[in-house]
């Protein structure tokens, strides 16, 4: 069945099972491998993408449900908030194995888009769905605060 997907501003037609999770459509059919598979059950957040700006676990989202909506993956991040998050991630050397970090960054970018000055409790709330087995959590927290500060210091 043909499914029309709009990913990172580009519209593509895919011939896939409509029940296929968006994750596998992105990875196996669009070669957008920045979005990761971690658990397949919405437990770890490695597969987080934005759908119409909302952080969404692509491993349990049927590709058909994402059709007609704006999907953003790590490859397509471009907002000032997202760029500030990525810059903070690099400057604090957050990643270790790095595998979960696309999902972490997608969740963090969505958090800053809705809450420019998150508290530690806000960060816990927004990021608790993203597992990092390397336990880079302290640096993730610091990087989100650093990105928020950088955004606040940047004139619109």
């Amino acid at each position: 069945m043909s499914i029309r997907l709009t990913v990172n501003g580009q519209t593509r037609e895919l011939d896939v099972d409509p029940d296929m999770p968006l994750l596998w459509a992105l990875r196996d059919h669009l070669a957008l491998t920045g979005t990761k598979f971690g658990c397949g059950m919405s437990l770890c957040g490695a597969c987080t993408v934005h759908i119409d700006g909302q952080p969404t676990r692509s491993c349990i989202t049927p590709v058909a449900a994402a059709s007609g909506r704006q999907i953003t993956t790590i490859e397509g991040l471009s907002t000032p908030a997202a760029r500030a998050v990525q810059a903070a991630w690099v400057s604090l050397d957050v990643p270790q194995c790095g595998y979960c970090q696309s999902g972490q960054i997608m969740s963090a970018a969505a958090l800053l888009a809705s809450k420019p000055h998150p508290t530690d409790a806000d960060i816990d709330g927004a990021m608790a769905g993203n597992i990092c087995r390397c336990a880079t959590y302290a640096r993730i927290r610091d990087a989100i605060h650093q990105a928020a500060d950088a955004l606040a210091a940047t004139p619109e």
Binding site: N8, T35, D93, Q101
Partner: protein, 751 residues
Amino acid sequence: MDFRDIEDPAALVRGTPQELSRRQFVKLTALAGSGLTLGLALSGCSRPSGTAPLSSATGEASASDAFAMPFVHIAPDGTVTVLSKHLEAGQGVWTGLPAIVAEELDASWSQMRVASAPAEVPAYGNLAFDPKGRMQGTGGSTSVANSWMQLRRAGATARAMLVQAAAARWGVPASEVTVSEGVISHSSSQRKASFGELASDAAQLPVPADVTLKDPARFTLIGKGHLPRLDSRDKSSGRERYAIDVMLPGMMTAVVMRPPRFGGKVASFDASPAKAVPGVVDVVQIPRGVAVVGRDLWSAKKGREALKVTWDESAAEKRGTTELLAYYRQLAAGKDALTGSQRGDADAALARAHKVIRADFEFPYLAHAPMEPLTAVCRLSPDHCEIWAGCQFQTVDQMNAAKMTGLNPHQVTINTLAAGGSFGRRANFESDYISEVAAIAKATGGRYPVRLIWTREDDITGGRYRPLNLHRIEAGIDGGGKVAYRQRVVGQSIMAGSPLAGKGVDPTAVEGNAADEYDLENVSITWSKPQVGIPVLWWRSVGHTHMAFSKEVIIDELAQEAGEDPVAFRLRLLGKHPRHSAVLQLVAEKAGWNQPFARGKGRGRGVAVHESFGSVVAQVAEVTVSGDDIRVDRVVCAVDCGIAVTPDVVVAQMQSGIGYGLSAALWGEITLTGGRVDQSNFDRYRVMRINEMPKIVEVHILPSASSPSGVGEPGTPPIAPAVANAVRMATGVRFRRLPFDLAAARKEQKA
């Protein structure tokens, strides 16, 4: 040139993996002219300029315009690429190893790059595993330690050749040529050159037999502040390529149905329902089960759901955790044990002790659960097998892939990619997932490249766990404050069946015991090896994961029995262990141990110290207990790891080891019922999340002039006992079983 730089990564969107354009395919295969080059191109943060071939391990500089030695490659554009013989699985070797070379080379950090070395011994062998370098592999926190002198020499050699090339070109004495931050200079003639400008000249020179290494007092990079990781950019942009991201033209994806109980085998199977699933292309039997191959993961997974396999479980392990622990208790009570460590007469000393603590400690099986589930890609032709994976034991993986495909090891190319975590899981002597993908490629006749993905359920239920362990301990203290200690350890051997297996005690089963770590006069550590069919493996810090726990909890309880301060008590028993003492004193100072601690409201504070992999780590944990919930508020950590090559990575590894150890202490357990694993995903195999991580984790590195020692694992062992000791201070409850269950422990203590 880089796989990803062929075109913008998004360019691959133009074709599904099966439909790569002819143009892209030609470019890919041109790059793949040597397996090495493609390996480099795919290996994450490698960006060697141009496609000049790297001479791999011949020890000779290549005749091209680039300078290429086994570990150091200098391109005409001045970038220096260090070939990492070790797997980057998060522990930071892609930064630490280049730092060693950059230091001796006097390079600028900004010109440093890193790439995975090919699988080739002895050139890239791990010198800690075998001084002759016959096995390439990563483990035992040895990467920086075993590379230290090797890479210093490699950097110094390259520097000497660049200096010689400059001297020859400028007609000046080599002794007058200096190098600083990537610039080669001759001050009196005011000449300067970059590494790139002199690379081809240097490449023509003979390799000097002997070079002078820098005086560590002149180090400018090693041990100095924060050297940015070379992989942070790619890992913060989705650009890092793990095995699961490899896309080859025509590639198919496989999943394997494995027996529900360890030791089961395929009796028969009906492939037809699986083959009826759209997208499934093959269903084949392999040694460990039945593989379903599809055009994408989804179809392969649906195919596996439809597959019907009948298992032969005649040789399968059918016991559950309860039965196994009962069996372990029998072994602990029996006389059939091997001596691990012994000094003096523990039995006699225990008989005259004033106070004796008797305890059985139980440690569950633990899954490693790296975030990237095990994945490997194989492309097979009649005379060549190429593997892409986060290989941790390259030499072993090469041999196993050869065995599975009927080739010779030299016909197997290994492309080591960044691994999405490992914690020991990817290093095993059967190369489980790599053997599987090679077997699938063989069974499907090499008609297409194949990628094997383990789902999370495959990973959690797939075995190779940290072994279940029972420790039976009797420890006493006499009127003079002397400690007697007897410990019977019952746990499976990790080494059994491997080429490293010895005849006596498996050293990994009893490592880091009280005899090794304290000055005890009367101590006995014995080990009994149960016969169990559950596959086990090293799990971040291996035997230290359980040995450190019981030791540090018992020592703490003895301090309490003796009415002594836990730090002072330990220091008294560490007279012959100056590094332990120094680390313990540092952590006590930084944690404010000697200042009054505000108890009450469930607050507690505990300490532990432990040596593993050549490094000593001490941690102080502060907890708040509310009801039966334990919250770890603060951890102060001190580490002596010799020279800290990249201190920021050391800090990160201590934080990581603490988080990993806390996951296991608070929630981690794999249990079995009737031989079947009860957990299958992160819902029941719970791990640490950001809201549960201690808000404060401070790391203090002891200054040292000694050679570097381990960093990836030593942060893990002390955290669980430090927390247990803190909870005991807060509540009086003693933990005898992991993971911590405060309600159950209270109940048991009352009974």
